[in-house]
Symmetry: C2
Subunit: 337 residues, 2 copies
DNA sequence: CTGAAAGCGCTTACAG
DNA sequence: CTGAAAGCGCTTACAG
């Protein structure tokens, strides 16, 4: 493996001129530059990143804790986000370093260690939870980080974040359902009061009010994010005195449960009762009929996060992105119009 | 951030004694060791990994190319594998560095660059394809790597590999179906002759022969790995003069298509016709009835790969692991027995 | 525009 | 058992 010294000897210049040829080419006379570049090419020289990092104390590596859901449940859009994050990092000549850590404050020693030993320059946080303690912990220690998702605290959140406007997403779902003829739209949410759930619920409520649709008694809170719970919740909405003709679920998994319950009753999803989900996970594409779902702009999110982390001055400290709505068979036009 | 020098000064020893306290504690007199450890603790010292790597020329980072399927299709078990790989690496005090690369030989400059610049010590390859060119390319350049999956060449494969016995997996599925009363078991495979597909098919055929079950005309080759193709393939198996009473699919996606087609015909999956898949992806758990599926021991695979890469001498160069079979509602006992 | 010097923070033989 | 020296391969001021 060629070193700077060898290239310098070959091109008959000093090592530092070779270094300049790489990092500040404008400083060289053009003929020198060409000569050095030829030597670099010939010797297939590639700068040793460790030496560089030791000198500059920047490793150009971003730590990312690989999500692990309780009960081994997969993150709905993990691979898509990871791919987006990886690509975004590479456009800033960074790479992603993966690690595992226990949830909550307990895991912070891992973050600290990774940073202190200079394995990473900073972190991208995801799976942000309501009152997530990681943000404050990192900010207090001046460890660089950015967050996908908000902590939903009362005060302003430490550090930069990017998030998707969940309220807008659910509002879009409601508007779409209204346009396709639905008039009684239930909401399937989670029980534990999470900022995420409340955000999405608020969008549903606001859109219903705006369209003069009913909201009273149309909210069901599921105990967990499972198809069984989704089915149970849907059953309650369908058993009401005035049954719903559409269900907005705040996750794809709840939506799938709702679809199952609708079918179990001999009703047709998308015809008798429409359903929408959230996340546009792989599941949404694979079921029949396909599940209409709010989709997060993951590429945009990843790019914004990397920008916040790497060009902190240039990027907005807080960024709320509009989600899209992917319409599939689960929300056809009502009454065959 | 404390350095070795500062710790040395604090403990009143030389830097190299501190280094030894960390890397070869047995060389120190116990009272010196204790004193040094106290200083380390007090100054919250953590060795700078870049300096260490520069000196030892080992970065303890393993490169892994994040899978990207054509058409943005998610890898069925990507998050599970990645989590397993990350954990396995950490038990050997390594970490995973993620990167993207074009498929085939075209992407090899990325691998080469990553290795030459010493961002990684070596690679874990997955998504191994039939006649995958990467293995030979890396071996020819003495770049360390291990492979999840075989290249299915005629000659012995360059480098170490770990794989799952697909034939055994499909054979297990056949045996399970036979035990639950199925007697005419079709196979849903892929069209393009891939080693993977042929391997799984061979297991199905062998088990059928062993159990004196028919195999003639019971193989359908789908053009791609999609539910639509799976449904079409299943239709052919169900339309035959002697229809099948069970379908072994070599992927979960094909199996899902088969389930859909069976239901479309008013038949009950798991009762009238049983179905099994391959991979035990998240999809298998979420559909109704649940999909019986061959499951790969991802933790074991990941651990074996890391062992091969990091303790090449200790680990077997080639390792074929037995998959499991997760039985769910799609393969209930036939005829309500 | 180019080069000699110092130094980033470690580890590795080697003396003592 | 402990320490003085050299060096891993770069970059960063600073002279010339």
């Amino acid at each position: 493996m060629a070193t700077l010294k060898q290239v310098a000897a070959h091109a008959d210049v000093s090592v530092q001129t070779v270094s300049n040829a790489l990092n500040a080419p404008h400083r060289l006379r053009s003929d020198t530059l060409v000569r050095v570049q030829k030597s670099i090419e010939l010797l297939r020289y590639r700068p040793n990143r460790n030496a560089r990092s030791l000198r500059t104390s920047a490793v150009e590596l971003v730590g990312y804790c690989v999500p692990s859901w309780p009960g081994n449940k997969p993150h709905p859009v993990m691979d898509q986000f990871l791919h987006a994050l990886c690509s975004a990092a590479e456009t800033s000549s960074r790479h992603i370093l993966l690690f595992t850590a226990p949830p909550g404050v307990k895991g912070m020693t891992v973050y600290d260690d990774l940073h202190a030993r200079r394995l990473v320059d900073g972190f991208v946080l995801s799976q942000t939870e309501t009152h997530d303690p990681r943000h404050e912990w990192l900010a207090a220690r001046d460890i660089p980080f950015v967050s996908f998702g908000r902590v939903w605290g009362e005060e302003s959140q430490p550090g930069s974040w990017v998030d998707v406007d969940g309220a807008a997403g659910c509002a879009a779902a409601v508007r779409h359902l209204h346009e396709t003829g639905r008039r009684r739209i239930g909401l399937l949410s989670w029980t534990k009061s999470s900022g995420l759930a409340e955000d999405r619920l608020s969008g549903w409520r606001a859109a219903c009010k705006e369209l003069r649709l009913p909201t009273g008694g149309l909210t069901v809170r599921c105990r967990q994010d499972s198809t069984d719970e989704g089915a149970r919740g849907a059953a309650r909405l369908l058993d009401a005195d005035q049954p719903v003709d559409a269900i907005v679920a705040i996750s794809d998994v709840l939506a799938l449960g709702a679809m199952r319950e609708i079918e179990r009753r001999g009703l047709a999803v998308g015809v008798d009762v429409a359903v929408t989900g959230f996340d546009d996970s792989p599941l949404a594409r694979v079921v029949v009929p396909g599940l209409t779902s709010v989709s997060q702009p993951l590429d945009e999110i990843a790019a914004a996060l990397v920008r916040q982390l790497c060009d902190a001055e240039q990027a907005p400290r807080e960024l709320l992105l509009e989600p899209g709505l992917v319409v599939r068979g689960s929300s056809l036009v009502a009454d065959g119009n």
